[in-house]
């Protein structure tokens, strides 16, 4: 059981039930989540000692967010209280050719306006094995970007392995700013998760062009862009998920990984989607879980892909699957047959 730290914003998610549009809804389903919080729940679920670092307002909405994490066994001792509000995102789940619609209302959140004195990173990273964060945290405010670097530095000094999931959000910051901030932060990163688009927009790298098509093309491009990232940032490994979005209801899902030596593309799953939010986060958690337990990159990747494929069948942001369920799926049984 490793000690894993994640840091980021936890938000209130308000989603419409039954494929309703916002304008039809008389009630919203309530969930609490956010990129790094979702990773934390997944890792706690897989049995690791997981800590979430954040700040929430000192009111019942803030407490509800904390409770939602503690319920799933995430250690909340490093969540500060104070500030103005809990960030919100409104979600209208899509269906068929109608995409899910997300409306962010996260400005001025307690985490976006958190200060250095809210966190004691020395204590946070004491004895930690892994620190994970995503490109969303530095994007939410200049203060959060500053805090992110402080945390990364503190973790680095303690010899903690660091993973970064790019998660570029164009509604949060411009390419230029993302590029500047993230390129700097890359110096601390050991394991990186990011798509070719992330590499292009965040890191300013140029993906190779090819006449190949389909998966073959994807592999060709990813080998190249991962190599570029390796060359430039000296990472342990890089991974990306690959989603084919046939529609809002049906996707395929696989992933690829590169460690400087081997490039590996996982099994591909065909998915009927119940809730796709948090799919990428559950992949990051699965990958960390594999790597921290000493699995090789192939096995880690397959674990991550299977775990995150299952996430798409679960309502809410967080991935509530057991290790055994993931392993069963990896073992080949995607038939959905009942055991009784």
């Amino acid at each position: 059981m490793a000690k894993i730290v994640t840091m980021g914003e936890i938000m209130l998610r308000l989603s419409t039930p039954g494929y309703q549009r916002f304008i039809q809804a008389d009630s919203f389903d309530v969930n609490y989540g956010g990129g790094e919080a979702n990773v934390a729940v997944s890792l706690a679920n897989f049995g690791h000692s997981t800590y979430f670092v954040s700040k929430v307002p000192e009111n019942p909405i803030g407490e509800s967010a904390v409770t939602a994490l503690r319920k799933y066994n995430v250690n909340c001792d490093f969540i500060a209280r104070g500030g103005e509000r809990l960030g919100i995102y409104y979600l209208e789940p899509g269906a068929s050719m109608r995409a899910s619609n997300v409306v962010y209302d996260r400005a001025h959140s307690s985490m976006a306006e958190a200060k250095e004195e809210d966190f004691d990173f020395d204590t946070v990273f004491e004895g930690a094995d892994w620190f994970h964060l995503s490109g969303i945290t530095p994007a939410i405010s200049d203060g959060a970007a500053y805090l992110t670097e402080l945390a990364l530095k503190a973790a680095k000094e303690k010899g903690v392995t660091i993973s970064m999931d790019f998660n570029y959000r164009k509604k949060l910051w411009s390419y230029e700013k993302a590029n500047k901030v993230m390129t700097n932060l890359m110096q601390y990163v050991d394991v990186c998760i990011g798509s070719k688009e992330d590499a292009k927009y965040i890191l300013g790298l140029t993906p190779v062009t090819t006449e190949k098509t389909g998966i073959e093309a994807e592999d060709y491009i990813y080998r190249d862009i991962f190599q570029q990232m390796m060359d430039r940032f000296g990472l342990k490994c890089i991974a990306s998920t690959l989603r084919e979005s046939y529609s809002a209801s049906d996707n395929s899902w696989s992933a690829c990984i590169y460690d400087g030596k081997e490039f590996y593309h996982s099994r591909k799953y065909e998915m009927r989607i119940v809730d796709r939010v948090g799919g990428g986060d559950s992949f990051a958690a699965g990958l960390i879980c594999g790597l921290i337990e000493g699995k090789d990159i192939r096995e880690s990747l397959e674990f991550a892909v299977a775990a995150s494929a299952l996430k798409h069948t679960i309502p809410g942001d967080v991935n509530l699957v057991t290790r055994r369920e993931v392993e069963n799926l990896m073992g080949g049984d995607a038939s959905g047959r009942v055991q009784r």
Copy 2:
């Protein structure tokens, strides 16, 4: 922003939640809708000044129906009050090979028993650009058929463009009666929406036979039957949707149009169905929207097909999509990817 008038019955729809059968239901979902009312909401949604002409009982159920339209910006000034009851239809949404089940309880409705004095058509059509109705309105009662002709005459005198969506309902009237009434009303119609079955049963035309199959056969037959309709009724254009019903859960959706010169078949969408009621009405609204704004028939048709494909992903009778969402889908993105 054009002034568009529709006229028809608005009903209370009572549907079972969660694919329940009627016999299982402890609650019914409540929606208000009806062919022309659905068209009105769509057109109001696209920004046009839309009026609905109807009659509802002077009780809270009638008021609720009016409110449901006003909510979506339909002008309700020409909805009369009085009569006995609001028509009802019970809906049991289907799934897979089980078809949706509709039970009508619409006899004796306020609209079916409305009188000439309930409406002042001169005022209604003052300054109007377009008048739309469907074959359901004249079908609900002799009185409604009479009122329909009165309205058509009044509109015609004011130079209003008139569209008619056949919508043959065999539970409401016989072929003979439909044929007699509708053939007469065709003299007022400029734009017509109807399937080859409508043409056969309502207009008494004989679709050509062919050894072709699939879409090729459909196009062959529609070219011919549309030409017959053109020859006989001198229309501006005729359109029909084409639904392939693989099951109650999955359909394909496209449409064709003919203006006497060009026959055009739209792009085809594969749909996972959330709610198929009102699909045809949203197509009519999309087509009117395109034509009234001066788009050519191709663009009008593609707008109408995209709009109505999206309708199938929205619960309830009415199509709550924005113009931008329709244009995005027309622009090619049916992938259902989230923007964030």
Copy 3:
């Protein structure tokens, strides 16, 4: 209208709504069902005079179970009262590659601990035409196994036709015990429903091996295993459903039957699953319905397959379809088109 008797346990089913995991649920959907009870409801629905023999606790939960059957016209005069509790099964419906999860809590139920004096089998089978049970009833306890044989003997003496649906549940008993008990009970059975796995584990037969694949292989194996069963147990006919489980959301569904002379494989349906529990029971009911009404094995099988395909579109354990709906589907219309 034949008199049909079924005997078994009725349980409270607690299932999570909206694809939630157990850990997420704030409410459970309540249904009452069980193998033979589900068969009884189907047969009552098709118009037969159907009796259910069981025992429930003398408390409101037991009464609710009885009420759930009576609602659908099953005669409950032979349901005894007493004992400790109503058995429960918790159900987490699956989606996509996530299988449904069933947690049984049925030990110590009133039916598992029922005694000989709870039932007067002479009265029960007076004038009965058919007695159906499944391999679940003898599996729930030694007492229930004993009662099962008592019932079978009594039925046999009255000349009642007897059908048995194997329904092997490895969570309830071992192969050895199942084999011993069931092999003995087979002496009473006329019509048998069971898969090749049931034949192997319950009856100890060895399915033939083949290099064929797909349906061809299935047919080859079933012909052989059915012949083995015929040879050994002298049955009137044997049938099995054939489910291809692409995922928890999508299955194909067909069935085969053998009467010693003809082996017949039914039409195959592609299903989007709303609720797969009770699919096999609704097949058994359909088959009994066909055979008891004197249909030949082909027609009986097609009726059974169509009926049970429809079951998969209905929430809950029981199959709430009309005879006409089944016949429409058999007649070829699986398009799910609305009639209106």
Copy 4:
């Protein structure tokens, strides 16, 4: 266990949840009920063999109404199928000073348009002990009034005891018509339930005036008006409930009875109301239950008042209490203490 027959209309009740107004409701709670149907369920609940005579449309809504009665053990063999529609009533439950709002949509119902040939009263009343109906049935249409008299005659000829609950509904018929029809029907009645207002409007009697107030005044007036009814119609006994409506949320509830010799006023209950619909019907059922079992008028009345007080705590039209619960309440325990 006596054989009891009731006859009347069963309706679909659509009510708003959570004290919503009609205009706010996105769903309606579904119940099926009606004066005599509610009486039938109560009596079946108390263990009597109870039959309901009615007519419902041959569609799933009609079947659902029948199922709702069968669920609670009412014999539905004499419910005819056919006609146009199931009557509906919309209910907006009140709270505090806001009264419940009922909108009827029951014209043209199958029962209102039922014919003589729909029922075989000789079979219906064969072996019957009691026939109950209310003043609603003759009010719904001339045809229903005619059928009511046919049924009363047939029952009288078989020596069946007859009870009538006046239930004057001014929205259904005028005083004049009610008076004419009901005065004639009174010749068949043995036991009568009606308020002083019913006596005044339906029977044309003049209640005495008094300077007393409160319960004392009520008793004074009821003694007198009951005596007038006795004198004129020669009844076995007459009873009335007495409701003090402090608000839509809080009422008191008692009743009085007279058998020509003794006038008796029951215990009074203070009630927090969950659902007051069917309160009077559950009183009628309780009274019949007591009288048919040979209890004296005091005990019968106390049973009826306790049963119907409990009804006010149960959602829906029908009274789902056990005999033991009623007897406990009669025994004095209105404290609502949990037993455990």
Copy 5:
């Protein structure tokens, strides 16, 4: 039908169902409301031509807020689009001795940050008869306070009658600031609604002390404080509601008014509370309705009190009662008896 303008913020209200605490809620009930918006709906409901002036973000949440008003017939032509977010308030409805809990998250809302150029007050007040606002609007931001004065000036110049409901919110601003801003705005006000606490904290007046108790004391104090307000600000009339809060579930409700000549205290209602939010707003609307229609202050006050008592029985912020329902209650019938 008078033209009435209100101006203020409309917020998203998220409330827990079934008396849940925030920490328990898996869904929030969705309503849209706010002081002045609630007044607008009430007045539209009573048949007046009512306009709401505000600003909402240009996203589906903003549109949903507008739609919620339009549904109830409020003219939304003067609602600007833009800015950052829609204000939110979280509501946990109380029960018994547990008070309702409100968490505001309204900072940075579109209305709080609206600019002069968002509104064309000349057009807004063209032909207007009445302008109503509350002390909440100037409290939400300096900008909003500035806009409030602009609006008041524009209205005054057009000769519009102006009403102000103090509604002091100590969570929004300090006494000092409230006092400074509001004292200045009082120069424009004709009709004032405010409690003695408002008078003390907002206007800096000193309520008289008395040894009287109960209603007598209230009347004594209100006569005095109203006179002070009259003397200082030269108003047409002043009114205040008087709530006795026995618990979160039960309150009494009355009001008093003074026009410089007569002091009048209304009838008092005992209320079981369904939803108390918006009670004061519905009182303001009722008072404006009475005064604008030329009723005297007594009748206006009784109308306002009855209307707002009824509001407490309706879920949500807005008062969905008809004029007739209010008049019935004024006429004395608070018994909650059903009419049928």
Copy 6:
């Protein structure tokens, strides 16, 4: 922050929504609770370090129970896994004169069949300040009674203060058995909570008789019976709640306490009940909270009564109030006024 240990069974509670009877329910509300578990949540809520000792089955239902406690900050490290099932209780909440109905299905639960080796009491009580349990735990099985004594011994040896809430359940064991077991266990108890009925039935004491009535009588009897308990068992203090059950909807609530010197009767609260389950447990928690923090018995009792009065307004078994809310209520404000 004290370390507090509780030990007992946690059950799944299945309750009907909206005052439905069991027979009406299509869904059950899901909560997890039990006497000592409820106490644990309350104490965790007040900020103490609280541990729950129990055993749950190793399946998702067992995990859900654990999660429900962890959500509210109860330490679950001492909850063993294994055994057959989670105990269940079905709850039908009462209203007005209809009492809540509880159906237990808790036999054979994992906790009832837990073994000595499931718990390491030395570790459990290491550093503990307080151990609380109730008379339910020894009642559920002989094994549980044995474990209870083991735990009490271990706690006593570590010098932990021990409190016992009698909670006699006549459905679980006889007076004789309860008396024998509990009298023995009393040797370990320091603080006792129990009614005069508990004292009579469990301890075999004889309450004094008196001609006084009401609260005066209660105080007289409780002084006496508490003194008897003091004399016999040498306790630190004894307390009892006093519930006047006007109906299932309305109760009064107070409590009394005695420490050998002073007898004190608390303030009395009038309550509208949302959910009365867990009322007594929340009282126990409040009392422990006060005493462990060194408050005197008066203040501890007032805190306990206020906390538990608030519990009655919260759905579910557990008391989700903050310390500040309790203190506000103690401070006198039971008016339910909103702060905003």
